[in-house]
Symmetry: D2
Subunit: 339 residues, 4 copies
């Protein structure tokens, strides 16, 4: 039985706690949150103890792992404290919105022998993973074009969340950058991005954007396109299309049921897409936890690493720079190290 401490019990932390508690070989021991009421509520839901301090969790030798789902700007501190306590870590993305802090974290982590798994949950979605697996199995030959559509349902998140999230590229597109790296056969080396404010004035007010298109090139010449919006009215639009010499493989959207309707106005009509990440990626989040438990159990390294988190952030930074300077930005993953 793997005993988890949950650090951060907002919406996504609560979901993670529930999923951990459902695993036959895992249990939640502690729930911590800056808001003790929230910590207590989740703790009660999953039969765990509420923690007053993070150290209640980290100092407990019976805790086998921590799951960090606190606000992004606390990730680095919690990662390092957990690592110092020798606890394997499953941390929500992004590591941080400040690449310099991520670099410091990376250097600091080097002295600990603690597995850190980054929460790029979409890698565990059966459909997106199906695209990845088909590409790796050579079913489409060499991958030449990768098209990622990733649009959130409206309305926009509350302003407080938007202020802290680091903006569209670091908060949302970062998932797509990771998906691109997951499916592509070699690393993106060049990024160009265009962005607009079309959805809601709050984004411009925060010096953020709400609609974007990105193109990238890998060293081998494969091309990737990502498009994002902060608002659809038909649900969470999440598609990945990989095109190659021998064919095409695509992952499409999910709905709650397989009902179609025909009437005088429309035919083959279906219900809206699953609303948002909690619904669409529920199975992916569970598979992510299963994967992490498998690391705990076998000692194998995580399948999504701190370095994956860092590289996705480097791409997000490059996209931001591209928008600012209106030019393509060359990626140097190592130069970033030196920064």
């Amino acid at each position: 039985m793997h005993r988890f401490g949950i650090l951060g019990t907002g919406r996504i932390g609560q979901m993670h706690a529930g999923l951990v508690a459902q695993q036959p070989d895992a249990t939640v021991s502690w729930c911590y949150d800056v808001d003790p009421v929230r910590a207590a509520a989740t703790a009660e839901m999953v039969g765990a103890r509420p923690a007053e301090h993070v150290d209640d969790v980290l100092a407990d030798d019976s805790v086998d792992a921590v799951l960090i789902a606190s606000p992004t700007n606390t990730h680095v501190e919690l990662i390092l404290r957990s690592a110092a306590a020798g606890k394997p870590i499953l941390c929500e993305k992004p590591i941080d919105v400040d690449l310099a802090k991520v670099e410091q974290c990376r250097l600091a982590l080097a002295i600990y022998d603690v597995p850190v798994q980054l929460g790029f949950n979409r890698r565990f979605d059966p459909s997106h993973r199906g695209v990845h697996d088909a590409v790796r199995a050579g079913q489409i030959g060499a991958l030449e074009l990768l098209i990622i559509t990733s649009r959130d349902p409206g309305p926009p998140p509350p302003r407080a969340i938007l202020e802290a999230c680091g903006g569209l590229f670091r908060d949302t597109t970062i998932h797509d950058f990771d998906m691109a790296r997951f499916v592509l056969e070699d690393e993106p080396v060049e990024v160009y991005a265009m962005a607009s404010n079309l959805v809601d004035p709050v984004f411009a007010a925060l010096n953020d954007v709400d609609t974007a298109v990105v193109v990238m090139r890998t060293a081998s010449g494969a091309l990737c396109h990502i498009n994002n919006s902060r608002r659809t009215n038909y649900g969470y639009d999440q598609r990945v299309e990989a095109f190659g010499a021998d064919g095409l493989v695509r992952s499409n959207n999910l709905r709650r049921s397989e009902v179609t309707r025909y009437d005088a106005g429309a035919t083959a009509a279906r219900e809206p897409l699953l609303h948002f990440f909690i619904e669409r990626y529920r199975d992916a989040y569970e598979a992510e936890i299963r994967d992490f438990i498998d690391c705990l159990r076998t000692g194998r390294p995580p399948s999504v690493t701190f370095e994956d988190g860092r590289r996705a952030l480097i791409l997000a930074e490059a996209a931001l720079q591209s928008v600012r300077e209106n030019r393509a930005v060359t990626i140097q993953y190592d130069a970033a190290v030196a920064a």
Copy 2:
């Protein structure tokens, strides 16, 4: 250049005339109709002469073939007169709604060496034919279940047409009986039908039905289901599904375009199906004419025969009898000959 006489220039005769005229190797010489105004209109449309009498057409040695699209109760007479004149015949379905008349026609035709092709246009639909071809190619192994959905768009045809059409089974289901015979690997030997009046009082007033389900068995034990309605509000619903030991092949409905829409109410919504047979089977009607021209050109026998028309009618009669007697009816194609 194959010169056609068109006998009957109502809606479907006019369509046939137009399609013949479009063929690079065919032309319409004469158009005949009991209504001379109608004959003249179609004749002008296709650059043909209007015929005052059927014999204007049949006595013209330069006429290579006739296309009979007159009211059903005139088919037998026109078939026999055309055959006597030595003209190859493409005749709309059904041959007649009276099986006894069909038998007489069959016997009378035996003395002429004239090709007669029956207008079961659906055999030429690329999608339904695709199902037939897949079955014949062994792609689904032995055919075990055949499911035919065939529903007309509402509102019902005018009462005068309904009165003359012979009722649902002889007018509409007859197409499905022919489709069943086209796709099945052996002949239906037993038919059971249930029918209702759900759509419009006119059907009951005419002692007809408007909604029906049919099941059939072939000698080898393959089972077939047909369902019909005289009214949909989403277009012409025409599907054929063949299921066998090694898989399933299906032909689906057609629309004018490949547009899909997503909004807050529905996703993946498409436009209504093509409205009715003129739209849905336009390509099939043209392919039917091409096939007949190919018979004229090569002298090979028609691919859809008088006997096909007779057997579909025998199945329709059996369905009627099944409804009347509420029991399964055994088919004897030869006994019918004797009748």
Copy 3:
């Protein structure tokens, strides 16, 4: 916390036990099976006690409900013993394959005030339920045609299971009869069935059939068709199509993911359907248990009743009689009571 006793821990009992154990407000107290090794295995899996005798479960006052998933021929006895012990019952379908025993059970149950829910899991499938809900909400107007496709993946079940199952109509089609009753707006009053042996000689050897088509009529004239096969090679084919005056609503098949593939051989190709009921109806089984727990919690009557189980069996018997006598069979639900 609702404490369950599981009676019967074969494949489906084990699945039920696991689902009960996952509910936050339910737990499995006891697992009983004629095979104590099997009982012990499931008990260990869900943290319950293995029961040596059924009475270990029924005599335990702390047990709030029983879930009967034992062989069909033990259902009636276990229902009656559980009812006598005052335990609410969730019982797998069918009640029994012998209608006379079902009648006796019904009469005997009358003296107990114990809720009995029948395990027609498909009523809880989000897609089929979506069809039901759309019909009840009037979205398609009056229901005129109901088409149910229901085909099991091959190969056939082991001979021992086939011997005990009561044959295709009582074992498999019974689900479709219940689905028909669930979606139709009034009761079927007439049944006609045709059946064949096309799949595997084992069925003929057992005097059973493996492929069937059924048609039914309700009192109001709505027509229903069911088609069954004991073997597909593409997964579990489960579709329901309701057609009415104002449109059509359909529930389609499910797959593990939303991946499509395009290559030189095929486009838009998807993976096989979910394999069988355990996979396809996993969510439905869980919703069924949730619904039963809701009955326990609120005291409301079950949404799927013993009478539903009895009526579905009456339809199955009528289908069998129809095949034997090759005629339509009129249903008399009350006459069955008298039998």
Copy 4:
């Protein structure tokens, strides 16, 4: 009856001639080609006279219009000679691959009062037009993202054609630039393109590319993405997706039939897409000719203008410049005029 002269009877000229000849109100009078054998073949096919010289056509007063389908580098000359002869012009795209020549042509044309329609056939495709119409009807609210997928089937065209075509952007993407302008609500003002050589060495040998991604921004901030490849193995991949505040509308690919197949390897599999433009856009080409005939008949201006051809070429040039300089290029439609 509108009498056409066809200038250029290669593959596409021959197709145009055939379509003109099929119109009930149009006929082909003359066919000209540099290769007199080719001219004669097409002339015979459509019952026209073969022209030895272009002037045979232009000097014939009975000719109502010319259709220019000759090699691209002859378009400008033929446009100007036809205009001088007072003949309305339907000219295949692109006007020329040299923007300076296009400017000269534009200035020269100003003195003639002759309608010139550019052959952007895709605007007449019922599916793409359906997207345009839905956007214009406000069905998706303000258009925010436009995603165009446009990939040709392999193998690449013959080297001689590639040499003359002006490269991927001027030859192929130009259609997508026009589609973008057709669907977008305001003009693109900025273009960025990335391109690769992944398909065939012939492209690199010609200093051309074979795979590309483009992003564009309009004045109002709408964003557009185009992706191209010179080779698919599943047919001609032509999709347009318009996303806006109130929903999404998409045009999907076409196939010859609506057949789907299910077997042990795949489900819902369909046949390859229609092979290439001749098959996919057959109806569009016909609608384009109908539209041009409507201009001839009514005197209204063409719906696709010389200026449309010029602007699409300006975008193609900008994409080329973007690739060369690896930066976004600002579009100045008027500056181009001055050039």
